[in-house]
Subunit: 460 residues, 3 copies
């Protein structure tokens, strides 16, 4: 197939249209939360807040910046492992995330921060917007190299919308706890992306196969992404937890889980190779599975040993997935998952949901203290209806809701993206920056196929 990949008018118009719409919606709806408004000096007095430090900014801003780095450098560079797709990996991730965070501020704002006709935003909204975009970055991993930037913007538009609905159902209707987003971000993002890539299945993708791998330098660039994701994941899982012990605990649990995950990833990577050699793909990805899988339970009393156990198994499962499951999904289920997000976000996301449900179901006032329990699960101490087993049940329900939203949403969005008008690359031009970017001379001579198929259609 050969689509017109000259985006000269389509991409600019899409970007400008979306941004104009965002400007208008921001004008109508978005204002500052009391903590960020100049009236705060008066607000502070009415609330008897004595110190400027009680501004939400000081509780959350350092975590916000860490999460911000994860979204833009972490996800962006993680995907630069492809030999000729570095510009697109970093650049398109930058584009979709910049659009996504604005749209997420609005969507999540309507659901969670809407007061008197206005969305009141503060640092917590910024974190949540980054989180929401995180799920789009996950889905991007499945279709990496096979879509145009217009398709990515459209997917972001829909996915952010669906994410916000799903998040509202889980957090508000089911009263699920999911601070690190095992369900809302990873499970939803992964299965959404996998459904989209299934629908966009390209039977002739083998024509680009020689570019669907790394070169030496690109693998080192990708490690920048891996390490910033790995290092800042404790901030990710603790960024929106309750002040004090919950935030503290979430960081510790994530730190422990991730550390354990590295060792089992290395073990499996070596054991599954004939010559006992390590595979960069595993080190780049499976080492992060432990962070995904404690996303829900990190702020609970999972215990440090609980965290290392979760990390232990996720490193193993995720590496096994890269070796056995990804090829199977491609050959038997026609799911072409470029970055293997099913192994890194899909399965560990579900595991994270289950670990969260079990940990919640086991919660009791001995482990948490009477008040601590009420505080951790956000119910009134005098409320005798709450029980840990009910909480566990709702947590489990959250996994299924997320899966259902991902599959249905992904199908619809996949079908929209299948329309032949979005400038997607031909099968032989996938994983190639030169289709959408001006590349320097040193790379241009490498490009074999016609860059503008409308003028000179390429034969398969």
């Amino acid at each position: 197939m050969a689509w017109n990949t000259n985006l000269r008018w389509r991409l600019p118009l899409t970007c400008l249209l979306l941004q104009v719409a965002l400007v208008v919606l921001f004008g109508v709806f978005v204002r500052y939360s009391p903590d960020a408004d100049a009236h705060w000096i008066e607000y502070k007095k009415t609330r008897n807040v004595s110190s400027d430090l009680d501004n939400e900014f000081y509780y959350r801003y350092p975590s916000f910046q860490d999460v911000h780095v994860m979204i833009f450098v972490g996800f962006g560079f993680l995907m630069t492992f492809l030999q000729r797709y570095g510009y697109s990996s970093v650049g398109f991730n930058f584009l979709l995330a910049a659009f996504g965070i604005q749209w997420a501020l609005l969507m999540q704002g309507w659901f969670h921060s809407f007061e008197d006709g206005y969305i009141l935003i503060g640092v917590e909204n910024l974190i949540n917007a980054d989180f929401c975009v995180g799920s789009v970055c996950v889905a991007f991993g499945a279709i990496l190299g096979k879509v145009s930037p217009i398709q990515l913007l459209i997917m972001t538009l829909f996915q952010v919308t669906l994410f916000s609905v799903n998040e509202f159902i889980l957090l508000n209707l089911l009263a699920v706890k999911d601070a690190g987003g095992s369900m809302t971000i990873h499970t939803f993002g992964a299965y959404f992306g996998l459904t989209v890539t299934r629908i966009l299945y390209r039977p002739n993708l083998y024509q680009s196969k020689e570019r669907e791998s790394a070169v030496y330098q690109s693998d080192i660039f990708a490690m920048i992404g891996t390490l910033f994701l790995w290092m800042y994941w404790p901030s990710f899982n603790s960024a929106v937890s309750s002040h004090g012990d919950a935030q503290h605990r979430a960081a510790i649990n994530t730190y422990c889980s991730l550390a354990a995950c590295v060792l089992t990833t290395v073990a499996l990577s070596s054991a599954l190779n004939k010559k006992g050699k390590l595979d960069m793909v595993h080190i780049q990805n499976a080492t992060l599975a432990g962070g995904v899988a404690v996303g829900t339970a990190a702020e609970m009393m999972l215990m440090p040993y609980g965290s290392v156990i979760v990390g232990f198994f996720c490193g193993i499962i995720c590496t096994l997935g890269y070796v056995y499951l990804t090829p199977f999904l491609e050959s038997h289920l026609w799911i072409q998952d470029t970055c293997g997000i099913h192994n890194l976000h899909g399965i560990p996301g579900i595991i994270g949901g289950i670990v969260g449900a079990v940990t919640a179901a086991c919660a009791n006032s001995y482990t948490y203290g009477q008040q601590g329990l009420a505080h951790a699960f956000d119910f009134d101490v005098s409320n005798h209806e709450w029980s840990s087993s009910t909480q566990g049940g709702f947590q489990a329900a959250g996994i299924f809701v997320s899966l259902a939203m991902a599959l249905v949403g992904g199908t619809i969005v996949g079908l929209i993206l299948k329309l032949p008008i979005w400038g997607q690359p031909a099968d032989e031009n996938c994983f190639e920056d030169a289709i959408y970017w001006e590349v320097p001379e040193d790379q241009k001579d490498i490009v074999v196929h016609a860059e503008d198929p409308t003028l000179k259609p390429s034969e398969p």
Copy 2:
């Protein structure tokens, strides 16, 4: 022209002389601020400060570290886009910034933190020193590849001095607000650098033209710089704002402006290319213009929609500048602006000054609250002389003062740097690491021209 580029005695002597002078001046003048002095435990009691958290350190240190990363990794790597100038981009930026921050601690200290014969430094001084050096990094972008490290040190010496004078005029004499430095850092830095590069005009620079472009890997390195600048810019614009709501608001506004800027940059980059392809130069630079342009107004009640509007237009203007203005400046005004700082810091800096002036002029007690207004613009509530329109006028005056200082100062410094004694590279050796660095064998064979023109003068 061929100068002696062997810096063996000149560079060491310059560095050592400067550093010895700094040691002496530090010995005579620099002490700790009360928050960093061991007497703090007693100081705390006399001031009725109850908690260690009220130490300025905890308000500002996370922002300081983000700014620090912007100066050293952000600016340093942004300039690695040149194919054979990576060592110099990162290394010379490192050198000038390390010198500059020490000199700025002194210069700014004399103006702002001088008490009883001593400069008392704390975390806010560290941030301001980084800010000051930021303006030198901006100017460095204009002359990148065409100067020796000695010239850079001399320029830093003078520019930091002039920056501090200009900053004192603006902040103290005109009582201008400029927390993110649209005027003091960006406008001043850009026009200073442009004036210097105008005076250092090289008519035969075309001899190095083949090296004044990127290769594939160097563009990806540059994206590390871009992203760290982009992600941490909210910290930059909020780092020295007042505690509480102002810092919080500055971060939100910058976040919004930068996000909007990315979309319009992508739109214009594609629209201005015949084949609709994106240009890495635009993505690396114009996406940041939104941060520059809200530098002054970010801490004011600009409103989130105000921020996205500013970002919207700056992405467009900056990209247009790269396509049309930079070539025009070079061919008609003889301004060779290697990194296009006029587009990224010059114009957006002036826009930022204007936005700040307008936002200040529109400030009223309805939007800010009575006390909030006085707090935001730092005047006594009982003072009936202050009016927002006066403030706006002073803000506008600040732009002109900064421009005047930049042009006059840049001319003088440019003339000093034109002296043929600083080891500047010959026209055919510009944009080439091998002149000032030991480069590995794999690169050496690429170097065509003589490395030491005193021994073997090269013919043009």
Copy 3:
């Protein structure tokens, strides 16, 4: 010599065994500190803590994240300067650090956070674990390229153990102050690593000499490591200092020392080169010596000028070390120090210990205030036994204890690592990723020697 480098069963078993042991030990011993436990809400009341902000998390978490980046990105990328050892530098550093932090949580926990049979961990434990691993990363620099990942894991196991014992002797028995670890981390780590590499001496290492150098891109990758170490070092030296002024002061002193160090490094690097050219090795390493050398004294009243003086001399000494001492150590003492850790951590570490001892010995109540002195050196004001000269003496003793522990420990560990069963590379395969990693095709053809010496033994 040719060892079997196929690690297929040995590496997986080592990793899994270690991780299973850690899981069990975590299960038996590790619990949350009160600040991270769900009972905190009750604990807070009993301690009259009013605000969530008084949770240790908010004092230390931003510093923790900076330190975390230094260990994984800083050390990891600093070592990518070798042309064909990027995967191993980043990947093995990742592996050993992930194992080391878990083991350090236990070892340091038993010594410092053991209560009622449990190790109670909080954010300070995470920082200290990262610190402890920092000393292993230092030692890794000496043997880089010459050992297998199994050897690294074994070295980490022993070195973390010895580090914890040494740290306990210094901090608890000698009551030494060493917040930035000049002695405990750098001196100990460096001389431990140097002893190990001495014992693992390879007389035929010249066979790999062509790979023991950088290529253009690898040097730029290494600068990522350098800059993140340099920028975040103020956080490193202040991360575990007392709340308030001490933490504040430690950051300022480190910032000043590091800045001065850059200028003298550049001066010496140029002066020691015939053509006055700069050497990337010096810029990558010697610029950091100032941070090492104020590790002990940074939190004391070293004064900003004291810091710049320390930085001034360390830049000079460290660069001289790279030019003269490293070759001497290799040729005369048979110490093959790949990264030159003796120059960057060894000598500056000892200088740091001495500076700390002198600064402590000069401490008096005029400079610190009566209470400030007691607070800074952690003694009871009513205790008349404490004197600054005694403190200085103990500080000095700390250097010797660290050196002794390093030499004895390094000898034992070196002998263990010399056993021919750990899969170490043959002399001609050192500094080569392809021995332990699947490398992309573009690199494979470069590998000259047999990868699996058991099948096809290579002749020296």
